[in-house]
């Protein structure tokens, strides 16, 4: 739950002085968006594979050590592998049949499609994970408000809420213990589901309660009025931010070119 909210400084698996880790968060967002948009257009093994390979080349400069990458990338893996498997088994069949079991069959075509889907999900998901794991949430909010010029009221309130929720982990544990103490929660899967939903609801109530007090605090310190504010931490763009975005663009172009060259590129729009 606290993956995004964790303090990058506290994580020993991250090197925050690496060149790419030091870029402005808005540049990181732009880079991962460029890659995502570029790769979403087509589903093919070559494009996704080349993109993934190029990303792997850039990894040493990103400041995420392998173990940290493994830990944080697990969500992407959870999505990528089943999707690939499902496509291979249930997807359109073409080419030679490799295995068959009743109505479902795995053909070379569907296997390729499955591999393409998996690679694409990795190629899109991993840059996001890598770039953002070295970003401090406060720096991200500062960058969004100062560089991307999003309304400060909303970005800061969102940041404060994110932090507030991060602290709710202790409350969650207490809620779980309390339910055991009340004698509920361990009577079969349906009962456990109901108890879990009730627990989620209780957490939501506590979070909203705390949020209203937080709002009063922020308001009492002058937050919320429309007038200009200053920033204690400056967020600015450097040339290395432009370099990052240009690099992401180059990566996407190269991958797409490789796909076109190999003839496997099949775009969603024509």
């Amino acid at each position: 739950m606290s993956i995004a909210v964790a303090d990058p400084r506290a994580d020993s698996g991250l090197d925050l002085h690496a060149p790419i880790a030091r870029t402005n968060p808005v540049a990181k967002l732009a880079a991962s968006t460029v890659i995502a948009l570029g790769l979403l257009i087509s589903v093919d093994v070559v494009t996704a594979g080349v993109a993934l390979a190029l990303e792997a080349l850039a990894l040493p400069w990103c400041g995420v050590r392998p173990r940290a990458l493994l830990r944080r990338g697990v969500i992407v893996v959870l999505g990528a592998v089943p999707a690939g498997v499902a496509t291979a088994v249930f997807g359109e069949d073409s080419g030679s049949v490799l295995a068959a079991l009743g109505p479902v069959s795995i053909t070379s075509g569907s296997l390729l499609a499955g591999a393409a889907i998996t690679l694409r999900i990795f190629a899109i998901g991993l840059p996001g994970v890598v770039l953002l794991s070295t970003t401090d949430p406060t720096d991200l909010a500062d960058a969004l408000a100062q560089v991307a010029r999003l309304p400060a009221r909303f970005t800061l309130a969102a940041l404060a809420s994110l932090r507030l929720f991060g602290l709710m982990a202790a409350e969650w544990r207490s809620l779980s213990l309390a339910r055991r103490a009340r004698g509920i929660g361990d009577s079969g899967p349906l009962g456990a589901l109901r108890t879990a939903l009730g627990q989620v609801f209780a957490l939501l109530v506590l979070a909203i309660r705390r949020a209203t007090v937080l709002a009063t605090t922020m308001e009492s310190r002058g937050f919320g009025s429309r007038r200009e504010r200053t920033w204690a931490r400056e967020s600015r763009l450097h040339w290395r931010d432009g370099l990052l975005v240009a690099g992401a663009l180059a990566l996407t172009v190269l991958a797409v070119a490789a796909g076109v060259r190999a003839g496997t590129w099949n775009p969603v729009l024509s």
């Binding site: 967002l29 959870l78 996001g128 109530v205 979070a207 009025s225 969603v268």
Partner: protein, 279 residues
Amino acid sequence: MSTTRNDTDPLASPTGSSTELTEPSPTTSGRTVAVAVAVLAAIVGVAVYVVGLPDSPTMFGTPLAELTLPVALVIGLGGLWTAGGLVAARRSWRVVDIVVASVLGVAGGLLFAVWNANYETIKLPFAGFPPAAALLVGVWLLPGVLGGLVIRKPGAAVYTELVAAVVSALIGSQWGFSVVWYGLLEGMGPEVVLAVLLYRRFGLPTAVLAGIGAGAVVGVLDTLLYYPEFSSAWKLAYGGFAMVSGAVIAGVGSWALTRALAATGALAPLASGRTAARV
């Protein structure tokens, strides 16, 4: 270096204060403009539908002509939305509105993270009839409708859904950052519905309609981007299932959740927690 905001003592003059006051109701000319916009958009929409779009440019593998009805609807609804936004008494957001909407958004983002991680597995039973997988999309539409019902201010649905999408993108998912754009559009679905109702109705029918609106958006986006190879019948089925899912999970679900939250008194500082009668 000293800074002075203005020369006169700021405490003396009451004008130019940045406190949130209720803005006055729109004037007659404002209303006229709004009605004009709505009527114009309706005319353009009908015209597009009657004349039809040309065949030749293809988009996402389908000829443009097949998109005539959706485009006409979008234009018509867009006009209604703008009109609604112009006419509704504009209430600006207080700090408590922003913070609570953010918290609901973060909660939604966490919900998305859990749902995303399990989505591929949950989708498996629908492998036989893929369009039916659209019955699951309601979960992604819940924060937007919930935000709209709880905060009751213009932009609440969009903001809450957007925050949820951003948080889920930060946590990481197989769709990367594209979910943010999805979130923005998914939030617009319920926002349009609420705007058309002039931000005055927040009961169960409104919630269901808002859910349907969100479902329609997802239906269109998904069939265009993720399932272009479906036949037209399947695309329609997908859209239909998406709207049902939106109506039930996002619509009824958000309405029930809002009522349950209001019953605990947690929403007291907000518009949705206030009852009319004095107890």
